[in-house]
Symmetry: C2
Subunit: 144 residues, 2 copies
């Protein structure tokens, strides 16, 4: 049994073909993918229904199997956290829309941010989303 199948079982999900294919598409990526990106990758080797994809991604996100982030362009991006890693932040290129995962570079969530809050927050904190916006190296070298 593959590690992805284990991951699904641990989270109470049957390791079906569709789910494994989705996890496969996300594994080893260093950028957070659009649902469209994933769909395209999946369809490269066989048909795939977009509703199945969306529902599966939602189920994964609920179980923290994947992380779902909101990019600057109002589309969701999905990525798999590295093992033993909490949330990571992202670098979003406002020109090409690529969203690179900044794994291991900093852990800028609760740990770093919370101590800086002088005033109490207006609610119970559950997660911290950090997105760095800019122009990625590829776009910079393409036209400055």
């Amino acid at each position: 049994m593959t590690s992805n199948a284990c991951l699904l079982r641990e989270n109470g999900m049957e390791p079906t073909d569709a789910r494994l294919r989705i996890l496969e598409a996300l594994s080893g990526q260093h950028i957070a993918l659009r649902a469209q990106d994933i769909l395209k990758a999946l369809r490269a080797n066989g048909p795939f229904d977009k509703v199945t994809l969306y529902r599966t991604l939602e189920a994964f996100a609920e179980r923290s199997i994947v992380q779902r982030h909101c990019a600057g362009d109002r589309t969701y991006r999905y990525c798999m956290p590295a093992p033993d890693e909490g949330m990571h932040s992202h670098f979003y290129c406002t020109r090409c829309g690529n969203m690179a995962c900044l794994t291991g570079q900093h852990e800028p969530g609760m740990g770093i941010l919370r101590p800086m809050d002088a005033a109490p927050l207006p609610g119970r904190l559950q997660a911290v989303e950090i997105r760095l916006d800019g122009i990625c190296d590829a776009c910079l070298s393409r036209q400055g």
Copy 2:
């Protein structure tokens, strides 16, 4: 001439009625509003076209007259920065969708975040978006 009119002039925009009404709706808010929220407020005292609103908000955002943020639900939120304030972060309630501005509590953007990047970023940084997700006090007291 009102201060909002000055603000527009300083940014090379005619202080038209529509623009002033939009700024008025945003002024003094401590939460970041949806376009729909603004539209509703505007229409409370007279008709208002949604396209005009969207175009105006975009023009404002380009000139940094307002800040545009992406909430966890894929809708944009708009708020006016306090005078002399850079970017501020937000507390987003995943239950009711309210997005409170955390003005003055911390300045968690470039200043705090950049020194933590051990590795260089994969591009040229322009802005930092920080969103704290959780359950707001109102929702907590309503049902825990």
